[in-house]
Symmetry: C2
Subunit: 383 residues, 2 copies
Amino acid sequence: MSVTAPAGFEAAGVAAGLKTTGKPDLALVVNRGPLQHAAAVFTSNRAKANPILWSQQAIADGTASAVVLNSGGANCFTGAQGFQTTHATAEAAAGALQVSAGDVLVCSTGLIGDQLDRAKVLAGVEAAVAALTADGGDDAARAIMTTDTVPKTTVVSRDGWSIGGMAKGAGMLAPGVATMLVVITTDAALEPPALDAALRSATRVTFDRLDSDGCMSTNDQVTLLASGASGITPDPAEFAAALTEACADLARQLQHDAEGAAHDIAIRVVGAVTEDEAVEVARSVARNNLFKTAVFGNDPNWGRVLAAIGTTSAEFDPYAVDVSMNGVRVCSAGGPDRPRTEVDLTPRAVDVLIDLHAGGATATVLTNDLTHDYVHENSAYSS
Amino acid sequence: MSVTAPAGFEAAGVAAGLKTTGKPDLALVVNRGPLQHAAAVFTSNRAKANPILWSQQAIADGTASAVVLNSGGANCFTGAQGFQTTHATAEAAAGALQVSAGDVLVCSTGLIGDQLDRAKVLAGVEAAVAALTADGGDDAARAIMTTDTVPKTTVVSRDGWSIGGMAKGAGMLAPGVATMLVVITTDAALEPPALDAALRSATRVTFDRLDSDGCMSTNDQVTLLASGASGITPDPAEFAAALTEACADLARQLQHDAEGAAHDIAIRVVGAVTEDEAVEVARSVARNNLFKTAVFGNDPNWGRVLAAIGTTSAEFDPYAVDVSMNGVRVCSAGGPDRPRTEVDLTPRAVDVLIDLHAGGATATVLTNDLTHDYVHENSAYSS
């Protein structure tokens, strides 16, 4: 059910002809209220796509009635013409839905640097409005796919209210502050500041700690829409926990479908002085191509882990560090421990545990291995 | 002739049995004087191998008589036993050469986390001392190869004096402050502070701007030995220029032989506010896997260039940037310019020119593409 699981939402996914394959490429999510409260986080990349520039303005007042999302083109680095396409998209949706254009967010994903076909987008918006239904969440989730092989959706239900979500993202997957294209809906009744706080706390420990290929997108956006249709205002902590659960579920789905990946790797750092340093250490491993290729080759090459973390400024003694892989401690106090041959890296899930022995903070970063299929997918055609 | 081109040096390369292939794996370079002046720069990785820890102490007084280098093992994260192996190596060479152990530098390269076979190393040192000749430079250059497919050597001749050099390095090739294993010799007569200044200025604009795969080694060391055998003390600026020429030549050879590479990419940034910012911008592109796979696929995907530089903190407006690839300006003022189809990326050499239009500083970073062969070489076996 995706984004239409909570009460008060309709959605649709249609083929607007932006993808040369003819597959669905335009999604619409509409909040029928009674509340139109919203929050969003955006890519921290300074090179921001036109839909990001638009949506940042549109969300400033904490309200949004609808989100239009297209695959088949990022509308990034397309100049004034590209911005006007985004603006016209919001106007078209607003006209058909009889809301203000300033309450319509726009998200785009696809190749950077090509103009979107404006006429196709506008016709697609019209078709999507006509196709809106209260169970259109799955159609919408399919329409935002690019190199994704499966749609990503989630539903978290609580007593009388719920959260639904959809996500796309398979490459250029290293969010900073914000993330890939995600729309999350809830029928809980919450004010915009509460939504914003919950969204930031949830993304900080979920999407922000997914680093598949170290490449930050220009188009990342996570939008949270609240209809209030349940009539229930949950405790903020309870809502934040449910939202974090939904985001973590979507993040794991994104990791599992990452371009060309053969392993889903969780890099857990413990014994750090601060949580930020734990993230820095984990991320240095997640972005190390030699470590990532070793995991692809089922090689528990812990030396590459230590070489990677040695490039960070986190506080620890490299010669006090322990490293375990899939439960086998192959390195203790910066020296060899159990034989590498005891480690089985053939399962898709790989757990790397790094104990810095420097403090009490911890963090986990999710990443993938670097494979022939990743190279193929990202060299054989433009994306 | 490599390191034995300048007068006053002898070298050898022997098979000590550290490599399972039986190929040469231990090199020795000896400075016969009359001067034994030296300088060295080391990896800035905090995870430093035992030979780095030893050599940093040995070079502190600005003098060195010899360098022992082994392939077949990095002697990194091998604890006290590993350090004692390095120490014993220096002692063995010192005894045979009748010099102080504190004047023998040691370099190692190979797999991290495995103990070197000390008996084989010490027997190798003995054999290398016995094999020393005034034309042993090429043997030494071959004995330090790991995944290198060709030895890397250089000779720069000036009026009455010269510089010779050898280098190894094909993976984990992203030096920070220092670099891979390099030994450079000269028969110019220079004091240690002059050598140190020249070496730092040369490496800063050569090895430090080679970033093949973003992975910094634990064992990088560039050593400069001066025999004074020419009796000539060149002008410092002239010496620094010649040394930079030698280092740049070796850096290009390292780039050209990088593991699995199909393209040698020069990323030139112009119009930056400072040289450091130009390097930061160029390096962000050099480390972007999506850009590197695109080049492998002969795809002039300038959107990935702009997405990469948008992650930096350098001062520029993303919507004022021009990007040219192999002479074709595909992006101007942050928007599409010439069609991508005009760009020919089939030659091995790829030139990416990024004009930030923000200032007058410039820098070039050398890198490689990300290929199936890179994934294969770094996943199929431990290195």
